[in-house]
Amino acid sequence: MLAALIIVFREVFEAGLIVGIVLAVTGSVPHRNRWIGGGVLAGALAACIVAAFTGALSQLFAGMGQELFNAAILGVAVVMLTWHNVWMAHHGREMAGELRQVGQAVADGSKSLLALAVVVGVAVLREGSEVALFLYGVAASDGGSALSLAIGGFTGLVLGAGVCLLTYFGLMRIPARALFATTTALITLLAAGMATQAVAFLERANWLTSLDTVVWDTGWLLPENGIAGRTLHTLIGYTDQPTEMQLVVYAAVLLATFMLMRLTGSQATDRAVAVG
């Protein structure tokens, strides 16, 4: 039972952190629960489908189907997160200043919500497919221990949901003025971290072989599979043995986000000044 609890909790933990952040980011947007709930449900459903076809997925691309699939969905999440940040830089100011009509703001807001719903869906899908496979294996095995394992799994799920709530309420304690800057930084680091994870998958698939020298090893200081290492891995993409390519991509995502936000943000200001 404890093993099941640990396995499920470990997977749900990462998704819980991401959902908590997204909930905090969208704190004041109307209908956000519908979108995020939809993202979680769609992710869970997709996780079951992916779990059911894991065997077939693995056989694609000369046995590297799983790796490339993971890299691809992480890539989608990176684009969505970056787009959200850039969009917020462009429209956040106008929305805050109530310069726009409410109807338009809601319509625009839901566009950004869609991007974040996709991110939530991707997070649940990635972590959920392993949980689904594990629990399916449990259900398929002998009935006696299955019940206690199912209880363990369910407890893990509840604890993971607790992580999500803790993240959310922790972030909501930040004063509204500082919240925007905080979540923007969190989302940017999340995106950069996901990009380096995507690089790791491409490296494992041998699709990316340049700059694959490990730059440092901090496993002795902060192991990636410990609780602190895992949290940092999800939040900022911490890895104890990064390759050169991972560091390059990390820096590139941070820089690209910064530049795009500066660019669109200043445009928005110019326009506001012109209108005023």
Binding site: A62, F134, Y136, D212
Partner: protein, 117 residues
């Protein structure tokens, strides 16, 4: 009637893809040391394997059980789900000499180790 040319076309397409892929990745495949493992009754067979240092390694893990397993190793930095009755390929970069443990993340009784020398 239509099914036959369609099948032929698909087979041809598959053959072309296959040849293209074989030509695309020859060097890596030659370099990598291949290690074959089977997984049955919740155990790796063999559980102790060895490989030369400074050469990439490619694990081929065949899961003969009716449940999915996850081939995982912290020191090798890999994790991969291998569905029931299928074979998973796990690529590992060139390694320094040492002992690297691997396990099934879904079943902590299944353990093994790779010795690189």
């Amino acid at each position: 009637m239509l099914a036959v040319p369609m099948m032929t076309r698909l087979t041809l397409a598959a053959a072309v893809c296959g040849i293209a892929m074989l030509q695309a990745a020859p060097s890596r495949a030659q370099q990598a040391t291949e290690i074959r493992l089977t997984y049955s009754n919740g155990q790796f067979q063999p559980s102790q394997v060895s490989a030369p240092a400074d050469k990439p390694i490619s694990f081929r893990v065949k899961n003969l059980d009716a449940k999915a397993m996850e081939f995982e190793s912290t020191s090798l930095r890999v994790e991969k789900v291998v569905a029931a009755g299928t074979e998973g390929v796990i690529n590992v970069r060139a390694l320094k000499p040492g002992r690297y443990e691997f396990y099934d993340d879904f079943n902590d009784k299944a353990r093994g180790a790779l010795t690189v020398q």
